[in-house]
Symmetry: C2
Subunit: 161 residues, 2 copies
Amino acid sequence: MLSKRYDAVNMNSSTALSALFLDIFRANAALVAAGDQLVAPLGLTSARWQVLGTVAMANSPQPVAHIARDMGLTRQSVQRLVNELADAGLVELRDNPHHRRAKLVCLSDKGQATFVSIHKLQRPWVDGLAEGMDVARIEAAAEVLRALRSRLEQGLDERAE
Amino acid sequence: MLSKRYDAVNMNSSTALSALFLDIFRANAALVAAGDQLVAPLGLTSARWQVLGTVAMANSPQPVAHIARDMGLTRQSVQRLVNELADAGLVELRDNPHHRRAKLVCLSDKGQATFVSIHKLQRPWVDGLAEGMDVARIEAAAEVLRALRSRLEQGLDERAE
DNA sequence: GTTGAATTGACAGTATGCTGTCAAAACGGT
DNA sequence: ACCGTTTTGACAGCATACTGTCAATTCAAC
């Protein structure tokens, strides 16, 4: 009896979870697409915007590998983006007194100005999206995603052992 | 007074929404990574699995463009995946009596067998992930994501006009 | 029937992120 | 001081998904 009830509950949550997967895929795609369009006038993309933001918000200049950990991406991905931002003159790579190879990523003056411009675009955009949405529901959704991610990564770790 | 209260509410939901964005990015990445590992033993990837599943679940064989609309992806992305699945012998492209160029994508015998194998892997995987998660919370999260995606795409449409 | 719009597949190019691998550099225990 | 481990950057290769463009085909309006 108990197992039957358990199965029923589990079946429902499994079905709901499978549906959630699709919504996550779609929301992610829509988010990246919208972000790309938002910062396109500044000559940026969604990914570069995120890296620039991480660099700007950091308390002190950090090497690439540290930024990557902050963002949950691989070093290699961030390295490429940082190199491109450096080519575009938005960030500068300064010598690191504690590590000869690991240069510190800093915003250039141009990068600072761009970051300010981004904020002026981002603020009304997010406000518009959030208008009429319930804070509690948004936070509850975020909690579910974090729980899901935690379980997913736990599963990955177990397989990796 | 009212505008002040409104601003305050809006500010909070904007902040919550910005945080949700990051959780969506992370959850999406974790989901793809976990999916890749899950179906790797079958020689598949997360993306090919999704295409194969869409083909398998369709009531009748569909051309590539129709599958793409189903999945919310572009024709070109799905076309490449279908071609690769065809190369691997998992799907077959049959002549379409109603359209000379738009072949119908069908599962081959090997594709059928693979789909069954996928189910045997997927079912306990999803059940394990869903275990102990609340159905109502999952569905509420999915609703928030759908609302967000709807607003994002509405914004894209407005810009495209 | 003809013409114009929409659909479809094909090809090229770009952006993002991953893994794998290597060598240089820093760190830690002995 | 030494040696093994970890961190870091660099390079190569692959998978995914996007846009843009073109021609073939279908479909609808006239």
